[in-house]
């Protein structure tokens, strides 16, 4: 670890701290339908959308109708994405003449994964998806899955803030306002900033360039094995060209981070120099990943009239973020003890550390930071390969996701996930002092706690059951790329990432198989919708309740003590559930690696 590395991490954190209040205030105003400086441009577009789609913007919905509208929209847009992939060969903006995405289970997996804000990628972007599918299918879902998340978080907060109310907002209005105000304008500016750093943005066919130095490479037979000539020498081909994939990358890149989606335009995601060319573009991207999640804590405080409660949540998130980055940065700086004769120490002349699967311009500090932020939130973009991280570095990333993606979290989903933990914390605090728990003037009763537990149980159930099946059945273990305990980590990471709607991967796992495509698709859908519905039920129930003014016996939710208790609940719940699986994967691997064992 270097001083410069920590300074870069501190700079990132300060930027997030600085944006939390202004952006939080802005989001509050957008959903309260107050005036913003963007109204002159966006208001006419908004009205036009309502006219075309038949939405009455003054009508509100109860929680059930809100949930139904959300589910219908997700279903329709998911079907459209599936269809678009299957017919992309006939659609425009396809200079490479890429055919239909096949087999069907790959298209299903991609549709499920992008609709749920997961963006797990079993395909390789530049060899599979036409420019049209990337723009109108994948980047489009980056917008609307994020907007849906924000809408639901705001609906939940309304449930807390309102008193004896039957409605929690109008899903269509929230969706449109999230897309037009919170996402679109920032993406226009952010995309162009990325282009200024070298992220490409064009519709041209792939370029073919003439290499400076022609290369001899082994000639491969049809079976993929190197050919051997009559004299017993390998047959060589001469390569004189390089084909360079292009595309409308920047417009997809920024929303990929701003909406915590994470699906790369290229297979190498944000490690690809065309997606993330400079250290500044890297900072812009990690900032974009965490900004809305952090700002929503302020929105919560403001909408419920208790800004300090918002900061208490921010404090808990910040503490968990710091713990994660400390472990990952430290572990990656140590390098790999199995590599002998290699200089892995940081110096003025090299970043050092575990550089397998990392880029020089980012080094270990920015790779660890990006990896931590992308797993804290449900983003899943990567600028280095998590599969090649040291066992403890990779484990910290997995834990970030296993805690439920609430450390700033996915846009919206992080907020409502955190609020479920808040309800559990208030409940446990109430049990400890023997009083009916209250949360911001609302009594927390059996119904809310039951729904919270449903929310909290669905998640590990999906992960552990599917991991268990995959690690004992041949159709699961067959796909493992790295043997030994690391193989279990690959499977565990995959289902954690899917259920948490993260989408990053231990990429060695060959997940483009019927089993993984189908199972991961369902895990993503379960992790999204089986958790959203109970969450909306809580919102509806809270909205109906009477306001109870706080008394001396009320456990305050604005203090550092509350933040500590909240962290405790999150960590204990996560640790109890996942520790056994982690001990068989990364922990075992760490011990064996230090004993000098490879597999």
């Amino acid at each position: 670890m270097t001083l410069n590395g920590w300074l870069q991490i501190a700079l990132f954190f300060l930027l997030i701290l600085a944006v939390t209040k202004p952006l939080g205030v802005f989001i509050t105003r957008v959903f309260a339908r107050e005036k913003t400086f963007l109204d002159p441009i966006l208001r006419p577009v908004e009205r036009l959308l309502y006219r075309v789609t038949g939405v009455d913007e003054t009508r509100e919905m109860g929680w059930m109708e809100y949930a139904v509208a959300m589910l219908l929209f997700s279903l329709v847009s998911m079907l459209l994405l599936y269809a678009m992939q299957r017919v992309q060969g006939w659609l425009p903006f396809n200079p490479q003449k890429l055919g239909a995405v096949s087999p069907g289970h790959l298209a299903w997996n991609t549709a499920a994964s992008f609709t749920t804000n997961t963006n797990w990628q079993a395909y390789s972007g530049e060899t599979t998806m036409s420019y049209f599918t990337q723009m109108a299918g994948l980047a489009y879902h980056n917008f609307v899955s994020a907007a849906t998340g924000i809408a639901l978080a705001v609906a939940f907060i309304r449930g807390i803030a309102r008193r004896q109310a039957e409605t929690i907002g109008n899903f269509w209005v929230d969706l449109v306002r999230a897309s037009l105000w919170v996402l679109l304008p920032f993406c226009v500016v952010g995309s162009l900033l990325l282009v200024s750093q070298g992220v490409v943005q064009n519709l041209r066919p792939y370029d073919t360039v003439k290499l400076v130095e022609a290369q001899k490479v082994p000639h491969l037979n049809a079976d993929g094995k190197p050919a051997v000539g009559a004299n017993g020498q390998p047959v060589m081909d001469t390569v004189t060209e390089q084909v360079i994939a292009q595309g409308p990358v920047a417009s997809q890149e920024f929303i990929k981070e701003w909406g915590t989606n994470g699906g790369g335009f290229f297979n190498a995601n944000s490690a690809h120099p065309f997606e993330n060319p400079t250290p500044l573009s890297n900072l812009l991207e990690i900032f974009a990943i965490a900004a809305i999640g952090a700002a929503l804590t302020y929105t919560l405080g403001r909408m419920t009239g208790s800004p300090r409660h918002g900061w208490a949540l921010f404090g808990a998130m910040a503490a968990l973020f710091l713990a994660g980055i400390l472990v990952t940065y430290w572990a990656e700086s140590q390098g790999n003890p199995l590599l002998h004769g290699v200089e892995q120490h940081a110096s003025q002349l090299q970043p050092g550390g575990n550089m397998e699967g990392k880029e020089v311009r980012f080094g270990v500090a920015n790779s660890a930071l990006f990896a931590t932020v992308t797993t804290d939130t449900s983003c899943g973009a990567v600028n280095s390969w998590h599969d090649s991280f040291t066992p403890l570095g990779g484990m910290a990333l997995m834990i970030n996701m296993m805690l439920g993606e609430v450390i700033f979290g996915g846009v919206g989903s992080g907020m409502y996930g955190m609020l479920v933990f808040v309800i559990l914390t208030v409940f446990i605090a109430g049990l400890m002092v023997g009083r009916t728990p209250e949360y911001l003037g609302k009594k927390i009763e059996g119904y809310e706690v039951k729904m919270s537990m449903l929310f909290a149980l669905v998640f590990p159930l999906i992960i552990l059951v599917l991991t268990a099946i995959s690690s004992v059945k041949q159709f699961g273990t067959w796909a493992i790329a790295n043997p030994g305990p690391h193989g279990l980590s690959e499977i565990l990471y995959a289902f954690t990432s899917a259920a948490a709607n993260n989408g990053s991967a231990f990429g060695g796992l060959n997940a483009n198989t019927a089993w993984y495509n189908t199972a991961i698709g369902f895990a993503a859908l379960g992790g999204r919708f089986l958790m959203k519905v109970p969450m909306l039920a809580i919102a509806g129930s809270l909205a109906r309740k009477k306001y109870v003014p706080p008394s001396v016996g009320t456990f305050p939710v604005t203090t550092p003590l509350f933040s500590v208790l909240l962290i405790g609940v999150i960590v204990i719940l996560g640790a109890l559930t996942f520790f056994p699986a982690l001990s068989l994967g990364p922990i075992l691997e760490h011990l064996l690696m230090n004993a000098g064992k490879a597999f």
Binding site: L49, L184, V239, I244, Q246, L280
Partner: protein
């Protein structure tokens, strides 16, 4: 339910046009106007031929060139239409064996010099355009010998090509391999 279903269908179509088609096309137009070279991948030409992108690695294996980091992109590496990494886990025997082999070769090439870690590891994208200054200095004696020039002169050139941290703070110091090699071809051409 029925009304919401109709709205869902119409909303999907309307927002697809706005966010999925209009938005990226507007950004493309603006990017092409404002940052034409960068929006198109910073292609580099020499003698009238396009020879690569400034920010993507291409393979160099001759002794007279600085080599980029190892690549696992595509079948033969450096496939700029199929990016990716090795995805080897830290305890994978294949990784340990590969590194052992490369370390042995490197020690033969430049005995007694510590081997910088980015010299023997694959990059994440397989297209990492940069190497660390330590990596370039490690390769220096080989390149100087192949070009029949002094290491001191070449070292000056290498040092000219070090890109420092952005704003003195961000990222890591690095050297763009393609730029260095092209500049070297101009200033210290290979003597045949």
């Amino acid at each position: 339910m029925k009304k919401n279903l109709i709205t869902a269908i119409l909303m999907t179509l309307a927002t697809t046009v706005l966010l999925g088609i209009v938005y990226p096309l507007v950004v493309t137009a603006a990017a092409q106007l404002l940052f034409h070279d960068k929006a198109n991948g910073q292609l580099v030409s020499r003698n009238g031929k396009v020879i690569g992108s400034r920010i993507l690695a291409q393979p160099f294996t001759g002794a007279e060139y600085f080599h980029p980091r190892a690549s696992a992109a595509g079948t033969n590496g450096y496939d700029a239409a199929n990016s990716g990494g090795s995805n080897y886990g830290p305890t994978n025997q294949k990784l340990v064996d590969r590194i052992q082999q490369d370390v042995a070769a490197a020690q033969k090439e430049n005995p007694g010099h510590p081997i910088p870690v980015d010299y023997i590891t694959t990059s994440a994208s397989g297209l990492d355009p940069d190497i660390s200054p330590a990596n370039a200095l490690f390769q220096l004696p080989r390149v100087a010998a192949a070009r029949n020039t002094s290491t001191d002169r070449l070292e000056l050139l290498v040092k000219e090509h070090i890109q420092t941290r952005q704003f003195g703070l961000l990222g890591e110091p690095r050297i763009n391999v393609l730029e260095l090699n092209l500049d070297m071809d101009d200033r210290y051409p290979v003597k045949h």
